[in-house]
């Protein structure tokens, strides 16, 4: 079957323009989805690896009961191929030349850290270097502040319990130096093997054993599954996704990538649907001829199904050939941005969405119009038959919408996202139908204007069906792209708002009531006024409505806050980033009551009016709950579970004061001076933590921008594909106009105007629909608030008008430079 084979060969198909459009759309679809899926998976790995360093591992197992875990657990992890390490954290007194000090010790094994690096300095004046392991046995690295406090020098010995260890370096930053107010004492890092010889850990000591694990995600998950049934309530398995500070950033980034992927799917589908409909229209004559030559409906069906299969194959192969170098390029860019090598890892699972997209695109979007070719009457060879009325396409549209629904749901896994996107699209189509109809009715009555202008309007009216469907595709494309831009900017704004430049990066703790004023004055003089100081009283929550709290609360609830002393405070006004969700804040002069943080209140099952008893030293304070409020834990400001009114339950309790403030790098001198003047006040430097958070936000932002650029490029190609679908008709018209004496400049002006009008309207409608979709998304997913985005509302229609005008000009190219006679013959 040489001729029939050839009729169906992809190579021959490629010579037909409509097929080229279908194939290019398919290749773009597969390439975009594959690149995004690969890149998203890569980014995920990179981010997780990068964020993992905050745990110094991929996972941590904490045992807070002061007992080590059974050795078999670690053996099992090793047997499964996981890297392991361990550390012991405890507080103790250490002795140096200048006295003694309560410190927080972290004793680490040789493997520590499994992820990330320790920043350390060999001497106070030395340069900071990154170390991949902790101190050797017999040595300690200490916080620079401790060096001053104990008047130590490098090489001196420090007594930890009954063991003397040599100070061999200064600990600047540890990868898992998370922000914990409980770890206020200066840090000492030692080797875990030295711990027994110190004799510090006794039966009943408050010790935290931490076990570190790193390895492939599936292995870690399997290990956790194995471990789960054996864990005691006091064990805590912590992954990077559970970490408080970064999980939100990661989740948002992940959602954004998925949203991007879904939009790419939509764009691709639109392109494939448009192109294949064009193709099927162009095939009607061929099908009629084949029927005349004796091919029956089933034969036609088989022929085109095979053809579709070949396209699918070509699309997938072509798409992957495009995606792989693109992905490679993106990982290179990512490496540069992150200033660290990113390994090129092809996740086979990430290719599945691309294959699925190709399959669904072909069968839900390309196949329906092609399937209808079977019904083309043979009589068409003798006489042109009425074309498709559009009514036949209704079931196709239903199938397409269902397919899009399924795909987006699959990729994004968010019903809200799917519903708001599709809601946006339906709204768009409804508005489009209405506006388009009104527009066309209006165009009919347009008189006046220059001849180019009138020609443009007449052109729009004459092609009203094609114009309306093109407008539908353009506005849909623009809506998707605008949605992405809008979501991206609100996402980034939120992040920046979350951690502005002047985020407090230093805490002052343990300020005695007598020195509060002096401290305030000191920082006032040094140009860094302290905004707010909070009193802090250490106390334990012991009773709930007169019953011991551990009995009153369900045993299943393991509540950290009940196992340790809480930082209690009093304040007159509610901090700006807190929000009352139940009850009311203290009125002026009110002395009774306590305000409880909402999550803790939820876990304890507290209601307004419940009576809480706190044990503070030897005293007991009982107060009713008067309000429940939310707290921004990642605001880097002092936050409290329990707040009392001034002159309330905490009056006369021993309090110290705490504050946080922003200190730029150049202010470090003032800090050293401060430490000398107020040796009893603890300074907690968290600027490194903030830097890390900002770095991660930066990484995610850049990745999002790269993917956004990719999707915008895809959108542009989709628009080009749609415009070129009517290329032949428009060129024929152009040639005719020139034959009839139209000047080139008239042709250029009127065509550009026609396309600019089309683009402008499409842009307006698209951007309005995008605002509607974003409005829905904001509420459902990103917890933001709605507002008009004027720059986008104005720029999208303008840019789209300009881009389309250029497309129009580009289409005209061949018409302008070739003799009309030749062109008409060629277009026959």
């Amino acid at each position: 079957m040489v001729a029939a084979e050839k009729l169906m060969s992809v190579r021959r198909d490629w010579r037909e323009r409509d097929v080229r459009v279908v194939l290019v759309a398919l290749i773009i679809a597969v390439a975009t989805v594959a690149t995004i899926a690969l890149f998203a998976s890569q980014l995920q790995r990179t981010l997780v690896t990068s964020a993992s360093s905050f745990l110094a591992a991929d996972r941590q197992l904490e045992a807070e009961n002061g007992r080590e875990i059974p050795p078999e657990w670690m053996h099992e992890a090793t047997r499964r191929g996981l890297e392991t390490g361990r550390m012991i954290e405890f507080s103790t007194m250490v002795f140096g030349t200048g006295g003694f000090q309560l410190v927080s010790v972290k004793a680490v094994s040789d493997e520590y850290p499994l992820r990330g690096e320790i920043e350390f300095q060999a001497s106070p004046d030395g340069t900071r270097t990154l170390a991949s392991g902790g101190p050797a046995p017999g040595e300690v690295w200490i916080n620079p502040r401790l060096l001053r406090l104990l008047e130590l020098e490098i090489g001196d010995s420090l007594d930890v319990g009954s063991r003397s260890l040599t100070v061999s370096g200064l600990l600047i930053r540890e990868p898992d130096g998370g922000f914990r107010l409980s770890a206020l004492a200066p840090r000492v890092m030692m080797h875990v093997d030295d711990v027994p010889s110190t004799g510090v850990i006794q039966e009943g000591s408050r010790v935290e054993y931490v076990y570190l694990f790193a390895g492939e995600e599936p292995v870690l998950d399997e290990y956790h599954e194995w471990l789960k049934p054996q864990l005691h309530p006091s064990h805590e398995w912590e992954g990077v996704r559970d970490g408080e500070t970064f999980s939100r950033s990661l989740q948002r980034a992940e959602r954004f990538l998925l949203l991007g992927g879904s939009l790419a799917v939509l764009l691709a589908s639109v392109a494939v649907a448009v192109a294949s409909r064009q193709y099927s229209l162009s095939q009607r004559d061929t099908v009629a001829l084949l029927k005349t030559l004796g091919l029956n409906g089933a034969g036609i069906g088989r022929l085109y199904l095979r053809r579709l299969g070949l396209w699918g194959l070509a699309g997938v192969v072509g798409g992957l050939l495009v995606a792989l170098p693109l992905f490679w390029l993106l990982t290179r860019i990512l490496s540069d941005v992150l200033e660290r090598p990113v390994d090129f890892y092809l996740d086979p699972a990430a290719l599945a969405p691309a294959l699925l997209t190709a399959l669904v695109s072909l069968f839900a979007f390309a196949y329906p119009p092609i399937r209808r070719l079977r019904q083309v009457p043979a009589m068409r060879v003798l006489r042109s038959q009425p074309g498709e009325s559009g009514r036949e396409a209704i079931p196709d549209i239903v199938v397409a919408i269902l397919a899009v629904f399924g795909l987006v749901w699959l990729y994004a896994g968010e019903l809200v996202l799917v519903v708001s996107l599709l809601g946006g699209l339906v709204l768009l189509l409804a508005v489009l139908g209405l506006v388009g109809w009104a527009l066309m009715a209006l165009l009919r009555h347009v008189k006046g204007g220059g001849s180019a202008w009138r020609l443009a309007l007449v052109g729009l009216y004459r092609h009203r069906r094609a114009s309306l469907s093109q407008m539908a595709v353009f506005s849909m494309t623009l809506m998707l792209a605008a949605t992405l831009v809008l979501v991206r900017s609100s996402l980034l704004d939120d992040w920046q708002a979350q951690l502005p430049e002047d985020t407090p990066n230093h805490f002052l703790i343990n300020i005695s009531p007598g020195s509060v004023e002096e401290v305030s004055e000191y920082w006032q003089e040094n140009g860094q006024p302290l905004s707010q100081l909070y009193p802090m009283v250490r106390g334990r929550l012991t009773e709930l409505n007169g019953r011991p709290v551990k009995e009153a609360v369900s045993k299943d609830e393991r509540i950290n806050a009940l196992n340790r002393e809480l930082n209690l405070t009093w304040m007159a006004s509610l901090p700006a980033d807190n929000e009352i969700i139940e009850g009311a804040w203290f009125k002026e002069g009110q002395t009774e009551g306590v305000s409880v943080e909402s999550q803790l209140a939820g876990r304890l099952g507290l209601q307004i009016g419940d009576r809480l008893t706190f044990t503070i030293g030897s005293a007991k304070v009982t107060e009713p709950v008067t309000s429940i409020r939310t707290v921004q834990w990642d605001s880097m400001k002092p936050n409290f579970y329990m707040a009392f009114p001034p002159n309330g339950g905490l009056t006369d309790m021993p309090a110290t004061w705490i504050t946080s403030f922003y200190l730029p790098d150049q202010g470090k001198q003032a800090l050293n001076e401060f430490s000398r003047r107020f040796p009893t006040i603890s300074v907690l430097e968290i600027d490194h933590i903030i830097e890390r958070i900002q770095l991660i936000v930066g990484q995610v932002t850049r990745a999002i921008e790269a993917i956004l650029a990719l999707i915008l490029a895809a959108a542009l190609v989709v628009m080009a594909a749609v415009v070129s679908a009517t290329l032949k008709d428009r060129q024929r018209e152009g040639a005719l106009l020139r034959t009839l004496g139209g000047r080139q400049s008239l042709l250029v002006r009127s065509t550009m105007m026609e396309f600019a009008l089309l683009g402008g309207f499409a842009g307006l409608i698209g951007v309005a629909a995008a605002e509607a979709a974003v409005w829905a998304l904001q509420y459902g997913m990103f917890e933001g608030s709605f507002q008009w985005h004027w720059p986008i509302v104005i720029s999208v229609p303008l840019v789209s008008a300009m881009v389309l005008a250029l497309f129009g000009r580009w289409q005209l190219g061949p018409v302008l430079n070739v003799s009309p006679m030749l062109l008409l013959r060629r277009l026959e």
């Binding site: 001729a3 050839k6 001829l289 005349t292 091919l295 029956n296 009589m379 060879v381 003798l382």
Partner: protein, 242 residues
């Protein structure tokens, strides 16, 4: 000539028999009758011209005779099969084996070469060694040197020659031609119709041609006139009675 006849054909049976053929199309407001009570018998090996003005219904009649469409009423029998009762698929099968077409606008597939265009019906009918047969036919129509050319590289007359070669490729028993010279200038038209007539004679095919060209019609054995959907045969008993 006999060796070219279809193996199943019965020489005594007419090749085409049409009785009480009526065709109507529904428009938005009313129904338009295009053909009205057409009766016609065409014998094996005959050449017949149906002449009429534009809009007289001749193309519709051709479509119904060839089984490209089904009539509103009446019966069409082609080579012993009542094609007006057959399904679209069965008619397609019949066309593949027994019917050839020549169109006014040639209807060649632009992406295929001349040779491939002629091979296509042979392949669809499952005939062995289609290439040899296609080459032979193209040589017969004088295009032996242009086998690898696509329609775009051929003139109108040459394209119609390829179409004629394609029409005869599967040894049809009936050939339907719709204004075969309508798109050609006089001279080219003349040589194309010469070729069509010559091949028709050689192959012993029954030819049914629709045309408005009286000269071309005159070269056929019988002529029918069609006007306002009614068919008449000049010089026949009915015409004499009129």
């Amino acid at each position: 000539m006999n060796q070219m006849a279809h193996p199943n054909s019965d020489q005594r049976q007419p090749m085409l028999k049409v009785s009480h053929l009526t065709h109507r199309v529904s428009l938005e407001t009313d129904t338009l009758t295009i053909l009205q009570g057409v009766n016609l018998e065409i014998n094996r090996g005959e050449s017949v011209a149906i002449v009429g003005r534009s809009g007289s219904g001749k193309t519709t009649l051709l479509g119904l005779l060839a089984g490209l469409d089904t009539p509103s009423e009446g019966k069409v029998e082609l080579d012993g099969s009542v094609i007006s009762d057959l399904s679209e698929d069965a008619r397609a099968q019949l066309r593949a084996r027994r019917v050839g077409f020549v169109f006014q606008s040639f209807q060649l597939l632009p992406a295929l070469t001349a040779l491939e265009n002629v091979m296509l019906p042979l392949e669809l009918a499952g005939i062995e060694q289609p290439e040899a047969r296609a080459r032979e036919l193209l040589e017969r129509v004088g295009l032996g040197e242009r086998l690898g050319h696509t329609p775009r590289q051929l003139s109108g007359g040459e394209q119609q020659r390829v179409a004629i070669a394609r029409a005869f490729a599967s040894d049809p028993v009936v050939l339907f031609a719709d204004e075969p010279t309508g798109n050609l200038d006089n001279r080219t038209g003349q040589s194309v119709s010469d070729l069509l007539m010559a091949l028709n004679r050689e192959q012993g095919t029954t030819l049914v041609m629709v045309t408005h060209d009286e000269q071309l019609a005159a070269r056929c054995g019988r002529q029918f006139h069609i006007e306002a959907g009614e068919l008449t045969e000049p010089g026949s008993a009915r015409e004499a009675a009129d």
